[in-house]
C-alpha cells in the first residue's frame, strides 16, 4: 500500500552546511503530524522541498503514490499540498478577502484575454468566488475583518488568515509553519480549535511546532528531526518522555 505522503532519502546542502541528510518519513491521511526538533534541524527546509521551492540534492517526495519531483510550486498546490510561511508572507496592502481570493484556484479572469472578451462572465464568476472566500474567512473566524487591509490586522488574526489562504487553494494536505508561535493564550486556543476542526473535515496536517503543550494537545504523530535527519517518530507522549530527545531539544537544560 502506498503511503499518503512519502518522503524518501532527502539530502540537501547549503554551501558547507548539510541541512538534510537521508531524511525519510511517511505521513498518514487524516492525522495531525507535528514536526519538531531544535533550531536548524531542517524543518523549514523539509517544507521547502515538499512544496517545490527547493530542489533537493537527492531523494524524492511522493503524494498519494504520485511523484512530486521536479514539479514547480504552483503544480504542487494543484496536486493538493499547500503551505504557510513562518514569516506569514501575506499581501499586506490587500484586504483580508483579497488575500484569500488570491488563493482560490481556477478563477475565470485571471487571464487578461478572458477578462477582456467576457467581462460579464468574469464579473459573475468573481461574485461567486467572493462568496466562497467569505465562507473561508467565516470558517477561520475572520468574517468581520474581510474588508480590512491586512496590515491593520492583529498578529493572531494574520496567522488565522494564512490558514484561510491555504484553505482557499482547496489543498487536502496542509503544511503549517509554526501556526501557534508568538500568540496570546486566547489566539492560541482559537488556532488549536481551528486545526482540530480542519482535521474533522478531512484535512491532513503537517505542522512545525515548538510549543510542547501545543504538540501534546493536537498531535496524533510526532516526527523528531535532528541535524536534517529523522531521529524518532511516535506518539507525543513517547517522544516527549524520551530523555535522550529532551536532551537534544533543550540542550541539557532539563
Amino acid at each position: 500500500m502506498t503511503a499518503y505522503l512519502q518522503v524518501d532519502g532527502l539530502d540537501h546542502r547549503f554551501g558547507g552546511l548539510r541541512a538534510l541528510q537521508e531524511c525519510s518519513f511517511t505521513i498518514e491521511q487524516g492525522r495531525i503530524t507535528c514536526l519538531v526538533g531544535p533550531n536548524g534541524a531542517g524543518k523549514t527546509t523539509i517544507f521547502n522541498v515538499i512544496t517545490g521551492f527547493l530542489k533537493p540534492d537527492q531523494g524524492s517526495v511522493a503524494f498519494r503514490g504520485r511523484s512530486l519531483d521536479g514539479l514547480r510550486p504552483q503544480s504542487i498546490v494543484h496536486a493538493g499540498i499547500a503551505r504557510t510561511f513562518q514569516n506569514l508572507r501575506l499581501f499586506t496592502d490587500l484586504t483580508a478577502l483579497d488575500n484569500v481570493l488570491v488563493g482560490i484556484s481556477g478563477q475565470f479572469g485571471e487571464e487578461p484575454l478572458g477578462a477582456i472578451l467576457r467581462p460579464m462572465h468574469t464579473a459573475r464568476a468573481q461574485a461567486r468566488r467572493r462568496m466562497e472566500a467569505m465562507q473561508t474567512l467565516e470558517h477561520v473566524g475572520l468574517a468581520d475583518r474581510a474588508r480590512d487591509l491586512v496590515r491593520n490586522l492583529s498578529y493572531g488574526e494574520q496567522k488565522l488568515l494564512t490558514v484561510a489562504r491555504v484553505l482557499a487553494t482547496g489543498a487536502e494536505l496542509l503544511l503549517l509553519d509554526e501556526p501557534a508561535s508568538g500568540l496570546s493564550a486566547g489566539a492560541l486556543d482559537a488556532i488549536m480549535s481551528l486545526l482540530r476542526r480542519l482535521q474533522n473535515e478531512g484535512k491532513t496536517l503537517l505542522v512545525v511546532e515548538h510549543n510542547t503543550r501545543v504538540v501534546q494537545q493536537i498531535a496524533d504523530d510526532v516526527l523528531f528531526l535532528h541535524q536534517g535527519h529523522l531521529m524518532a517518530q511516535g506518539t507525543p507522549e513517547r517522544i516527549i518522555s524520551d530523555p535522550a530527545l529532551a536532551e537534544i531539544y533543550f540542550g541539557g537544560a532539563l
Binding site: 512544496t51 521551492f53 514547480r72 510550486p73 504552483q74 498546490v77 494543484h78 499547500a82 503551505r83 510561511f85 508572507r89 501575506l90 499581501f91 499586506t92 496592502d93 490587500l94 483579497d98 488575500n99 481570493l101 488570491v102 488563493g103 484556484s105 478563477q107 475565470f108 479572469g109 485571471e110 487571464e111 487578461p112 484575454l113 478572458g114 477578462a115 477582456i116 467581462p119 468574469t122 468573481q126 468566488r129 489562504r165 482557499a168 487553494t169 489543498a171
Partner: protein, 288 residues
C-alpha cells in the same frame, strides 16, 4: 483648431503607449527602456503592408503588426524573466539600441535615417480617414478600447493577482498561481498596445523616421508612467496628456531651438528622479 486636434491625436496614441508601458513596468514590474522599439516595429510594419506593391488595407495591417509586436514582446521578456530581473535591463537597452540600428541602417526596409514618407491614410471599411477631425475620432476609438481593456483586466482577478505579485512573488506561487505566466500575459498585451499605437502613428503622420523610436522616446514613455502613476487607468492617461503638453510650454519660454531637444530630455530625467524620490505612486497611481 488643427493644432489642437493634432495634440489630441498624438496624446491618444501615447495613451496606448502609456498603457503598454504601464503593463510592463507597473504591472509586470519589469524595467523597460525598449517600448519605443516595439512601437517602431508596429509603425514600420503597418507602413510596409500599406505601401506594399500589393497593399493590404488598414485593419488587416494593424492586426498583423499587433500580432508581431505581441510575439516580439513575449520573445524578449520570457528568457529574462526566468533568469534575473537585472539581466532584463541589459536585454531592454540592447533591444532598443539594436532596433535603432536596424531602423537607421536597413535602408531598403525602413528608408534608413531619411525615414519613410508617403504612408497612405487609413480607411475603415471604405470610410477614408483623411482629415484630422476624422483622425481624432479614429484615435479616440482605439484609445477608448485600450482603456476599456485595461480597466477590465485590472478589476478582474488578473488585477488582484498582479498586485499580489508586486508584494510577494513567493507567496503567490505558494498560493498555486503561475507568476511567470501572469507577467508574460502582461508583456503580450503591452506588445499589442504598442503595435497598435505604432500603426496609428505611422498613418497619421504619413512619415516616420528612426528618431521617433529611439532610446529617448523610450525614456519619455517611462516618464509618462512614472508621472501619471503605476497600475491605474487614470495614471496611464494623465501622463501622456501632461508630458506631450510640455514641449508646447517650452516654446513659450525663450530657449534656443538648438538645445530644445536636450532641454526636454533633461526635464524628463529630472521628473524621473523627483517622482522616484518624493512620489513613487505618481499623480494618480499606486506605488511602484
Amino acid at each position: 483648431m488643427d493644432f489642437l486636434f493634432s495634440y489630441i491625436v498624438l496624446a491618444e496614441i501615447y495613451v496606448l503607449l502609456g498603457l503598454s508601458t504601464n503593463l510592463l513596468v507597473g504591472i509586470a514590474g519589469i524595467f523597460s527602456v525598449s517600448q519605443a522599439a516595439v512601437f517602431g516595429v508596429g509603425a514600420y510594419l503597418v507602413a510596409h503592408f500599406m505601401m506594399a506593391a500589393d497593399p493590404l488595407s488598414f485593419i488587416p495591417s494593424m492586426l498583423i503588426a499587433a500580432a508581431c509586436c505581441v510575439a516580439l514582446n513575449i520573445l524578449v521578456t520570457l528568457p529574462s524573466l526566468r533568469v534575473s530581473g537585472d539581466y532584463f535591463v541589459v536585454t531592454s537597452f540592447g533591444i532598443q539600441l539594436l532596433a535603432t540600428a536596424v531602423f537607421t541602417n536597413w535602408a531598403q526596409g525602413t528608408g534608413g535615417a531619411n525615414g519613410l514618407p508617403g504612408i497612405p491614410p487609413p480607411d475603415l471599411f471604405g470610410w477614408p480617414v483623411e482629415t484630422t477631425g476624422r483622425y481624432v475620432l479614429l484615435c479616440t476609438l482605439f484609445a477608448g478600447l485600450g482603456c476599456l481593456a485595461f480597466w477590465l483586466i485590472m478589476r478582474a482577478p488578473f488585477g488582484r493577482l498582479v498586485r499580489a505579485i508586486r508584494e510577494d512573488e513567493t507567496a503567490v506561487a505558494a498560493a498555486g498561481k503561475n507568476v511567470l505566466r501572469a507577467k508574460v500575459s502582461a508583456a503580450a498585451l503591452a506588445g499589442a498596445f504598442a503595435g497598435t499605437a505604432g500603426g496609428l502613428y505611422a498613418t497619421f503622420l504619413s512619415f516616420i523616421d528612426p528618431s521617433s523610436f529611439d532610446l529617448d522616446a523610450s525614456i519619455l514613455l517611462l516618464t509618462m508612467v512614472v508621472v501619471g502613476g503605476a497600475r491605474t487607468l487614470a495614471g496611464s492617461v494623465i501622463g501622456p496628456f501632461l508630458l506631450l503638453a510640455l514641449p508646447q510650454l517650452l516654446t513659450l519660454v525663450d530657449i534656443p531651438t538648438t538645445i530644445a531637444a536636450a532641454a526636454r530630455q533633461l526635464i524628463y530625467g529630472l521628473l524621473l528622479i523627483v517622482f522616484m524620490l518624493f512620489r513613487p505612486q505618481g499623480l494618480a497611481g499606486e506605488r511602484l
